[in-house]
């Protein structure tokens, strides 16, 4: 049983690392990407090829995966962001980019095409992934709560006002994209060395949209919200295994319910704190008890 739970949690934590990148890009910078699976794939294939064929040290391979994903993000980011593509236009451009990258993976020799890469050494253990996740969350929080995060938030809130604060929109948006792609690359490297096998069909557009879904349902402008959402979405399908064919239907229904009941996300523009959770419990508790008449003045 522990083995099974450990497996689910490790995958969930790898997913959260990628979600952290999208949190910065979508939640804090306000741009939507439907092509982040490409960055995960770039990280996964780079790291896996390096350890598998060239016997490079695992950590170096992970770093190389980050780097390649970051460089790849420049390929799509520079032309689209310079052309001031925004919202849906930008999302569609990244969607096309993600699909194109998958096609490239399917037709290259070194990636062994659609057959995929089997037999990758499984270095990504539960404790290792956990340490990586803690580091990633810390770095993400440091980024967001610094001058650089504020500049991104300004760009999300109002383009014109942000420019009037001396902010170069292109640079700020590109910085967030590169940061998020590097994290996606790291997640990819860990993913490849967890599963031991990768193939292009693992990195689809639906995986990209799952990342965005975690950020939007978790709450824009929040770090802890998307983490909670990603954990929720990792555990719901597992907990519902008993429900069999209704499993994914329920999953979809939960998504719809969150968006209808809390369009700003579970923790929109706020962070989870234990003090806040206790206050919330008290408030809910007092709602259940009969209310005393309030004394005014």
């Amino acid at each position: 049983m522990w083995f099974y739970i450990k497996g689910i949690l490790t995958l969930a934590m790898i997913n959260i690392i990628a979600v952290m990148g999208v949190t910065v890009f979508t939640g804090f910078t306000g741009l939507f990407s439907l092509g982040h699976a490409a960055f995960i794939a770039a990280g996964a294939y780079t790291a896996a090829i390096l350890t598998h064929f060239y016997h490079v040290n695992f950590y170096l391979a992970l770093a190389a995966g980050c780097l390649v994903a970051a460089l790849l993000s420049l390929v799509i980011g520079i032309p689209t962001l310079r052309a001031k593509l925004r919202s849906d236009y930008f999302a569609i451009a990244t969607l096309g980019f993600g699909e194109a990258f998958k096609m490239i993976l399917e037709n290259m020799n070194i990636t062994q095409g659609a057959r995929g890469l089997p037999g990758i050494t499984t270095y990504s253990t539960f404790p290792l992934v956990f340490v990586m996740l803690v580091l990633v969350v810390a770095v993400t929080a440091n980024f967001v709560f610094s001058k650089f995060g504020r500049m991104a938030v300004a760009a999300r809130e109002d383009y014109t006002a942000a420019e009037m604060m001396g902010i170069n929109l292109f640079r700020v948006q590109l910085r967030s994209l590169v940061f998020s792609a590097a994290l996606a690359g790291l997640a990819g490297g860990l993913f490849a060395h967890y599963l031991g096998f990768i193939q292009p069909s693992l990195f689809t557009g639906s995986q990209s949209s799952m990342l965005v879904i975690a950020v939007v349902t978790g709450g824009m402008g929040s770090i802890t919200g998307p983490i909670l959402a990603a954990l929720l979405f990792a555990t719901i399908p597992e907990a519902l295994r008993v429900a069999n064919m209704w499993r994914m239907v329920t999953y979809g229904a939960v998504l719809v319910a969150i968006m209808v009941l809390r369009p700003q996300g579970i923790l929109g523009y706020r962070e989870f704190t234990f003090g806040g959770a206790i206050r919330l419990c008290r408030r809910l508790g007092s709602r259940l008890r009969p209310r005393k008449p309030e004394v005014v003045g």
């Binding site: 504020r150 420019e163 604060m165 402008g221």
Partner: protein
């Protein structure tokens, strides 16, 4: 004193529409200059041209001896021109304090990206200091009592004051105010006029302002430019403007004498 800002033959077309035509005027350093005119006269267009939101079709803008026409907004801000907006553009989902801190970053925050990611004590200290400074700016415009409220929870008039605090935090030499008293009653707008005079003295600013409240304009401004249909109609001191026949005609119509 010397002119801090000069425009020469400044012209902007939008397709066939002339938003601003052959405008030449100057703002003397340390003064308050008003821009008035009927709706659609091209007043805000001038602000957008100066701050780089629009690129002029023709003409020049000189700020402290540098040509800034066609520069991008973020470059113009760095040279020392900041503004507020007619249709308030705050960072709505953020707190009052955060709105000002973002502005402070331009001049005050020097740490680099990699340093920020590791967050050593110097970054903590800097962040604390930024919040203190931001609070001082909020205090200047009288908003220091609830710095953590969300910007869009403020009433309209206070949102305009927050915009002024944010513009001041960018440490400008020239402050452009686009209808700062819009939506205020006469009492409030006179209070605002007093505030503008105070900050002008405190921060040694030059102010260029667009305003419809004539009592504010006449009370505050050393010089006034009157615009109509994208052209300069008149320029002078408040007294001169109040008795200028072309101005009276533009505001009251040709038949004002009979009315």
């Amino acid at each position: 004193m010397a002119n801090i800002l000069e425009t020469r033959n400044l012209t902007k077309f939008f397709g066939g529409i002339v938003a601003c035509n052959d405008l030449t005027f100057a703002v003397e350093e340390g003064t308050i200059k008003g821009v008035i005119g009927p709706n659609g006269a091209g007043k805000t267009t001038i602000f957008n041209l100066i701050t780089g939101v629009y690129t002029p079709t023709r003409g020049e803008i000189q700020f402290l001896g540098h040509g800034i026409a066609g520069r991008k907004p973020d470059e113009v801000v760095k040279r020392g021109i900041t503004r507020t907006f007619q249709n308030i553009r705050l960072f709505k989902n953020l707190s009052l304090l955060e709105n000002v801190v973002i502005a402070l970053d331009l001049r005050q925050t020097r740490y680099r990206l990699l340093t920020a990611l590791v967050r050593p004590p110097q970054v903590w200290r800097k962040e604390k200091e930024l919040r203190r400074t931001a609070l001082e700016y909020l205090d200047t415009v009288g908003l220091a009592d609830r710095p953590n409220a969300r910007a869009d929870s403020l009433p309209y008039g206070l949102q305009r004051k927050l915009e002024i605090a944010r513009a001041l935090a960018l440490e400008p030499r020239l402050l452009l105010l686009d209808e700062p008293a819009a939506g205020m009653n006469p009492e409030e707008s006179l209070g605002l006029a007093k505030l503008i005079r105070e900050i002008k003295e405190k921060f040694k600013l030059t102010v260029l302002l667009i305003e419809h409240h004539m009592d504010v304009v006449m009370e505050l401004c050393d010089h006034i430019v009157v615009m109509n249909f994208g052209e300069k109609l008149a320029e002078g001191t408040p007294d001169e403007i109040q008795n200028h026949p072309a101005v009276l005609e533009a505001y009251l119509g040709e038949d004002y004498q009979r009315a």
